[in-house]
């Protein structure tokens, strides 16, 4: 019971976890910007291989994809584990992902193709992977713009369907990856499979099954009595302290 332990100082891993809990945006920013830091360091030290433009293109694309997939994973993660923290960083991950993909496209068009319009057009029309990449990026633009609270309010009920465009943008991004690698498509297929699973987790039946699974696991851990008492499938995390009334306001 928390009340019994409240006089004790929590152990340091718990303190760190609590700090992370309390600073979701800062923590996400630190993790998301670290790869950019490494890229700048490697650029300064000339550690970006003999083909730095290609290396930067690959790295920004990969980090962007990972962050976007991470953003897509947030709500299923919350559904299956009750981890509210995941919901708090969903937009951050999406926006940082968009930042990297913007850099990715900028490096490709400006550095690699030298902003040569004819070359960009011929690349987009000739290479399926370029077309897919451009399409995926185009779908992400309105999502990045309307990610603010202001736009959320202005769009009202239309905001949610608009942001479901990411369900289209990410499979196309995976296709972009599948089409650009040389013969061995196992890694891109792994990304495609993860994206597929994360989309599957959005099907109402699957979502219901995940929530019930979580409830059953919790019931098993706490005993049937505790399970019966539980009403809210998405409890506040961390659990409310006695006397904290905010739990009520959420319900």
């Amino acid at each position: 019971m928390p009340s019994l332990e409240s006089n004790k100082t929590p152990s340091w891993p718990k303190q760190i976890l609590a700090w992370i809990e309390a600073h979701p945006h800062l923590v996400t920013a630190l993790f998301a910007l670290a790869p950019l830091g490494f890229m700048l360091r490697d650029l300064a030290y000339d550690w970006l291989t003999a083909n730095p433009i290609q290396e930067l293109t690959f790295r920004t694309g990969k980090v962007g994809l990972v962050l976007l997939v991470g953003s897509l994973a947030c709500s299923p993660l919350n559904a299956i584990s009750g981890l509210r923290f995941a919901l708090k960083i969903r937009r951050d991950l999406g926006l940082f992902g968009f930042l990297y993909i913007s850099l990715h496209l900028l490096i490709f068009t400006a550095l690699d193709l030298g902003l040569d319009v004819a070359l960009i057009v011929s690349a987009t029309s000739q290479k399926l992977f370029v077309l897919a990449g451009m399409a995926s990026f185009a779908l992400l633009i309105p999502l990045a713009i309307t990610s603010t609270k202001g736009w959320q309010r202005r769009l009202g009920k239309r905001w949610k369907p608009l942001h479901k465009l990411v369900y289209l943008a990410l499979p196309i991004a995976a296709l972009h990856y599948v089409w650009l690698v040389k013969a061995d498509i196992r890694t891109p297929l792994a990304y495609a499979a993860i994206i597929g699973l994360l989309l599957l987790a959005r099907v109402p039946a699957v979502r219901g099954w995940m929530s019930s699974l979580r409830r059953r696991v919790e019931t098993g851990l706490r005993g049937p009595a505790a399970g019966k008492q539980k009403q809210n499938p998405f409890p506040r995390y961390p659990p409310a302290k006695p006397g904290d009334i905010s739990e009520k306001s959420i319900l």
Partner: protein, 329 residues
């Protein structure tokens, strides 16, 4: 483009290891050999002796080649600058080690490129197994500055050291039935971690039509920048076919067979719709992924136009007279 190495036969040049040990001996025997006397005679280095077992290109692999990279010219015949040694030796497509081009240099550090034998056989009158040292001794080693154009649309200019494949083939005498040359790389998953990946059909196999193989441009490579070939570049023996995409230039060759049927290369078996048998550098034949009409020269910021047959049209176009190069990609 083509430079003969110094007039002194390579067998006359003292191997570095031997040279160093002689220097040591000289220093030790300094009392007997007065330095002043040597200088008076104009002798700056001990004269080569017939007992010297090997020349510079015959440097045995067990002692690392610490000579400074050097080339006879700073550009190729088109005036394009040589790609720096550091780039040539640290940015390598060598899937036997890794699919990551930057990982190859460190993964190949302990590769055993010596002793090494190459079996030349198939449809020939005189099949023979050559020791790598024999090949270096038997055939004049010359420097050739070639452009290397990777199918991934990047390119380098490399001063290779080696000898024309035609010389080797003439020695084994291909018979009348021989139409193609099939090359095979070493199969050794203990040394080649990439070969533990069953995705590719190891060992690496490549092939040339016999007339392509006999073309004077086709080089058996034993070194680059005047040094023994580094493991990352396909030690101790690789091919350089400069008018074809880089993957045709097979590395770490152990077997060369003259055959009647067109060989199936590793890349043909991995993705035959993308990698054909000929794989000539051809800006007008597009590839699903890479822009083949332009390329990035390693070390340069902007792209440059890719050249038909990688700029070797004059030397090789006769090989493909009347052929549809779009179909025979």
């Amino acid at each position: 483009m083509r430079t003969r190495l110094p007039a002194i036969p390579s067998s006359e040049i003292t191997a570095e290891g031997v040279y160093l040990s002689r220097r040591k001996a000289l220093r030790l025997g300094g009392a007997a050999l007065s330095a002043a006397a040597l200088a008076a005679c104009g002798v700056s280095a001990p004269p080569p002796t017939s007992s010297a077992p090997i020349g510079p290109m015959l440097t045995p692999a067990p002692t690392p080649d610490t000579r400074e990279p050097a080339a006879a010219k700073a550009t190729d015949e088109l005036g394009d600058k040589l790609t720096p040694y550091a780039s040539v030796t640290t940015y390598n497509n060598f899937y036997e080690f890794s699919t990551s081009k930057e990982a190859v240099a460190s993964l190949s550090k302990n590769f055993k490129g010596w002793p090494w034998q190459v079996t030349v056989g198939g449809l020939v009158n005189k099949p023979k197994t050559y020791d790598i040292d024999d090949l270096r001794r038997k055939f004049d080693q010359e420097e050739r500055i070639y452009r290397l154009r990777c199918v991934e649309a990047w390119s380098m200019v490399i001063p290779w050291v080696g000898f024309p494949l035609s010389k080797l083939l003439k020695e084994v005498e291909p018979n009348a039935k021989a139409k193609y040359v099939r090359f095979e790389s070493l199969q050794d998953p203990a040394q080649f971690p990439g070969q533990r990946d069953p995705f590719y059909r190891w060992p690496y196999v490549e092939g040339l039509r016999l007339d392509e193989a006999m073309n004077d441009l086709t080089l058996m490579v034993t070194g680059l920048y005047g040094k023994t070939l580094p493991a990352a570049n396909g030690a101790p023996l690789r091919l350089a076919v400069p008018w074809k995409y880089g993957f045709k230039s097979i590395k770490s060759i152990v077997k060369i067979d003259l055959v009647e049927e067109q060989p199936t290369s590793l890349w043909m078996s991995a993705a035959s719709n993308e990698y054909g048998f000929y794989s000539n550098v051809n800006p007008s034949v597009s590839h699903p992924r890479w822009l083949q009409d332009t390329e990035r020269r390693i070390g340069e910021l902007s792209r440059r136009k890719s050249l038909m047959f990688n700029g070797y049209e004059a030397q090789v176009q006769d090989l493909y007279k009347g052929m549809d190069l779009k179909r025979n990609y």
